[in-house]
Amino acid sequence: MAAAAETTLIRSRRRRRFWNRTLQASIPYGLIVPVLVVIGVILGYPLYWLVKLSTQRYGLFELIRHQGVSVGLDNYRSVLHDQIFWHTLLRTVVFTVVNVSLTMVAGMAIALLLVRVSAVVRVLVTSGLVLVWSMPVVVAVQIFYWMTNFQNGIVNYVLTQLRIGDFFQHDWYATTFSQLSLVTVLIVWGALPFVVITLYAGLAQVPHDLVEAAEVDGARPWRVFRDITLPILRPILLILTSLSIIWDFGVFTQPFLLIGPSKITSGNYLMSVYLFEEGYFKSDFGRGATISILMLLMVAALSVAYVRKMVRIGDEP
């Protein structure tokens, strides 16, 4: 009697332990399910639609009817045979290279400057950077538009006063080059705070003794920078550069609003603007979806290195 009771007790305890363990193992899944469901519904489902749309003719009429007309790969053929697509791609690549290079070089220079200035100036510059960082992009666009306006832009005034040239009533929005240069200034200005503050934090990791020893041995500042500072900053520089490339390649608000919707033409498209105009504005959703897919694939290719690095960091604990 007693022995039988004991075995049932053990069995039930074992069963309870089994359920306990299963419950324990399922906790993390229970925790991530809400996020997964939301992402699946609001991102997964539209992504399925994106692929479907790219094989359909889908305009306003189809939007109202909720039914596209299948056209196979016609959209892809049309986009890939479109001169405008290739020109836009080339322009966006050049634009990205210029913007990222300027951001990284200027950011590095300012970070190094911060190490050399006195504490008061450092606090001043850092606070200024944080203020700039906090400006909403749409607000920054309006300010730049006002500063560069044709009638009495302050930029025109200052450049003329500094005898850099005669910019009285100079129209900065007259040529594509000039328009995209302004967009570049706006983007670099907005991106610098993040880059500078991150790099400056990174510079704190550079060991003082090492730099001093090198200087005592007669190393010039450039050697010290190249052989000591740069290798230590490498991981941070890699992350910042990849992020900048990905952001600048897909940038929309700055070019779209600063150049101004009325002055946007196929001659000054960047990738995101091209997609917005051709797909959304002209209500050609099928073709727009095709451009989106091509663009997403390009960005995915650009992000592989970054995502891989971040996953390695995230997998550590």
């Binding site: 993390p28 925790l31 991530i32 809400p34 996020v35 992402i39 609001i42 539209p46 992504l47 639609w49 994106l50 939007l63 911060l114 050399r116 200035v117 006195s118 100036v121 001043l124 510059v125 200024g128 950077l129 944080v130 203020l131 700039v132 906090s134 400006m135 909403p136 992009v137 749409v138 607000v139 920054a140 309006q142 300010i143 006002w146 009495n152 302050i154 610098l192 993040f194 991150t198 934090a201 990905i246 952001w247 390649f249 897909g250 609003l257 995101s272 603007v273 917005f276 797909g279 959304y280 727009g288 989106s292 663009m295 997403l296 960005v299 992000s303 995502v307 996953v311 995230g314 997998d315």
Partner: protein, 283 residues
């Protein structure tokens, strides 16, 4: 720093660097200064060819004009609704997922991390077409719910990643000690993790608030009605409404739009720098 050897040369160089730093400060901050300065100037000063640097007789007229523009209050209200609902839901859901990432090892964990980081890299423009078409099918264009749902796709992964960073900063020993003392998992969660995570939760909510408040392209695409728009779309359409550019009102409106963001940003500035090295904030 300033050693005894060739002290004078060193001091001269230091002064030089300081001057460069000051010049840099002036150039970087000037646009913000110019916005505020313009917002308080009289119209005569604004259109004059000889700029007035400091408005010595500030006027509030432009602020009155800006907020009296049609749909300003309506659109501020819309922004506040969208931001608060998005942030509230996202923080709760992403906190749970962040706990899973920071405290458990489980099959599929790596895949989930790839998802969380990968989504943040997607260019927003690449998603406007499918989101617009899908939301139109369910009659959610021109509705704030559609926009809230859309924003969650970006705020969720970002918050998961940032909160995970904050959670890793809390030593596991505390929880384990409480478990040994007989607390349940839920008890540990409520009594230990939640209070310690306070600052992290606040900081993450603020980042989420800023990103959502500043967002432009989705709001522009998904909301057509002027009465349904958010402040960023309202501000971007400011110039379109009149033939004659009212720069004073535009700068006043810009100042008003930027104020909440600047205030919040300055409040959690240090934490933001931390969060950024942990993950990514859209620039």
């Amino acid at each position: 720093m300033s050693g005894p050897r060739n002290g004078r040369g060193r001091r001269a160089r230091q002064t030089g660097w300081n001057l460069v730093g000051l010049a840099l400060f002036v150039v970087m901050v000037f646009p913000v200064f110019w916005m505020i300065s313009t917002a308080f100037k009289s119209n005569d000063q604004i259109v004059s060819l000889n700029p007035t640097w400091f408005p010595l007789h500030p006027t509030l007229q432009h602020f009155r004009d800006a907020i009296d523009k049609p749909f300003f209050w309506q659109d501020v209200r819309n922004s506040l609704i969208v931001v608060s609902v998005t942030v509230a839901i996202s923080i709760v859901l992403s906190f749970l997922a962040a706990v899973a990432l920071a405290r458990y090892r489980f099959a599929g964990r790596k895949l989930f991390i790839v998802l969380v980081i990968g989504i943040q890299m997607l260019p927003q423009a690449g998603l406007i077409i499918p989101l617009y078409v899908v939301l139109a099918r369910y009659h959610q264009t021109n509705a704030l719910t559609g926009l809230i749902v859309t924003y969650m796709t970006f705020v969720l992964p970002f918050s998961v990643w940032t909160l995970r960073g904050f959670l890793l900063g809390i030593p596991k020993d505390l929880e384990e000690a409480a478990m040994v003392d007989g607390s349940t998992r839920l008890g540990v969660f409520v009594k230990i993790l939640l209070p310690l995570m306070g600052p992290g939760l606040v900081a993450t909510s603020v980042f989420a608030f800023i990103t959502t408040w500043n967002e432009y392209i989705f709001a522009r695409v998904l909301l057509n009605d002027q009465s349904k728009q958010t402040v960023t779309v309202w501000l971007s359409g400011f110039l379109g409404s009149s033939r004659h550019t009212d720069w004073g009102a535009l700068m006043a409106a810009s100042t008003v739009t930027a104020i909440p963001v600047v205030v919040f940003f300055l409040l959690v500035q240090r934490k933001i720098a931390f969060g950024l090295t942990q993950g990514a904030v859209r620039g």
